[in-house]
Symmetry: C2
Subunit: 233 residues, 2 copies
Amino acid sequence: MARRAIVLLSGGLDSCTVLAIAKDQGFESYALSFDYGQRHRTELRSAGLVAAALGATEHRTATIDLRVFGGSALTSDVEVPKHRIVDDIDSNIIPVTYVPARNTIFLAFATAYAEVVGAFDIFTGVTAVDYSGYPDCRPEFMEAFEATANLGTRAGVEQGERLRLHSPLIEMSKADIIREGTRLGVDYSLTSSCYDPDDRGRACGHCDTCLLRLKGFAECGIKDPVAYRGAVA
Amino acid sequence: MARRAIVLLSGGLDSCTVLAIAKDQGFESYALSFDYGQRHRTELRSAGLVAAALGATEHRTATIDLRVFGGSALTSDVEVPKHRIVDDIDSNIIPVTYVPARNTIFLAFATAYAEVVGAFDIFTGVTAVDYSGYPDCRPEFMEAFEATANLGTRAGVEQGERLRLHSPLIEMSKADIIREGTRLGVDYSLTSSCYDPDDRGRACGHCDTCLLRLKGFAECGIKDPVAYRGAVA
């Protein structure tokens, strides 16, 4: 029987590539998405389409109410910044699109899901190269969470197994990711990255993630197959 | 200005005592409860009453859908065990009332709340003496989570502060907790511990937490002021 893995699947380019990587490594995938009141809800639709296209065994969407605390442009009324220069993203300033403790919360849910389905592997799409400025995407955070999850679950007490966090994109640039996903058959037209899509799901072309995505496709000489609502950089 | 603290407040005896302790230490308390589809929802009402009685600055209840994964007697249709002998609780078997990764999820939300209100202190009611068999109540788990939270938030990057988890009950027996809470003026008639209360909120007197609670009150020679629906052990 194939080993089971939880794959955190936002519906964006990175996590969809990770789902293809988990499949390629022989895991039976249990994909997990979150409805957390995000502005860019079109990504949830993308997550479902990609989970189906890549043959995930199960795809669940957990509803979590991050708005109860407020505090981020992604979940409240703060304006999503535009025309930010990609090269500035490496600075030490945490962007307003940071959602407090979001990855900690997402990984905690993934840990719960893993226990319930008997999985010991959790795949995430965090990257350290195109670092977004979010503290909870750093490798040292991921390692600390893995240690914590092993202490806080049955895995650490009863089962003689260890939960493992896999971050296969951690050393990859956006262009590397797109090349690898293309090799593994990811249909990037189904994915959704924009923080501020319009009602028809078309990307803005100007927010942080659109800029990173477009730069990545440009670097590998592939045309981004998603729809943009105007001229892109 | 008083320092702010997040206090995880289930509405049970332990967490209500912790709220009194945080107040006694001079913190301005932001109490946080969870609606996670628990059977014993009367505890949410208790949490609100105790937060008001002890002067919490704010009390928020985050709705989280743990049922999306199933897997515990507290959130699904598994029967809550009765007549379990308290002395057996120290064994290494995790009880069916364990909710996968629940404390990891709760602490992740507390971390988010702390960031939003500018708190660096999080109080929890976990205890190591009357150990319930839950892996995510162990001191080593709490220490690992604290390290993780500091890596995954603004605290670790921008602010030069450290998030601190406080578990003031960790070395206390149930009787110690009741004595300390009584000294600090906790009205235990407002609290709710039972995993399986009836429609009028009356405790069963026979589940793990009822047994621990009754034993604690008996040891300090105080009568438990909550209502039980029948004869108790």
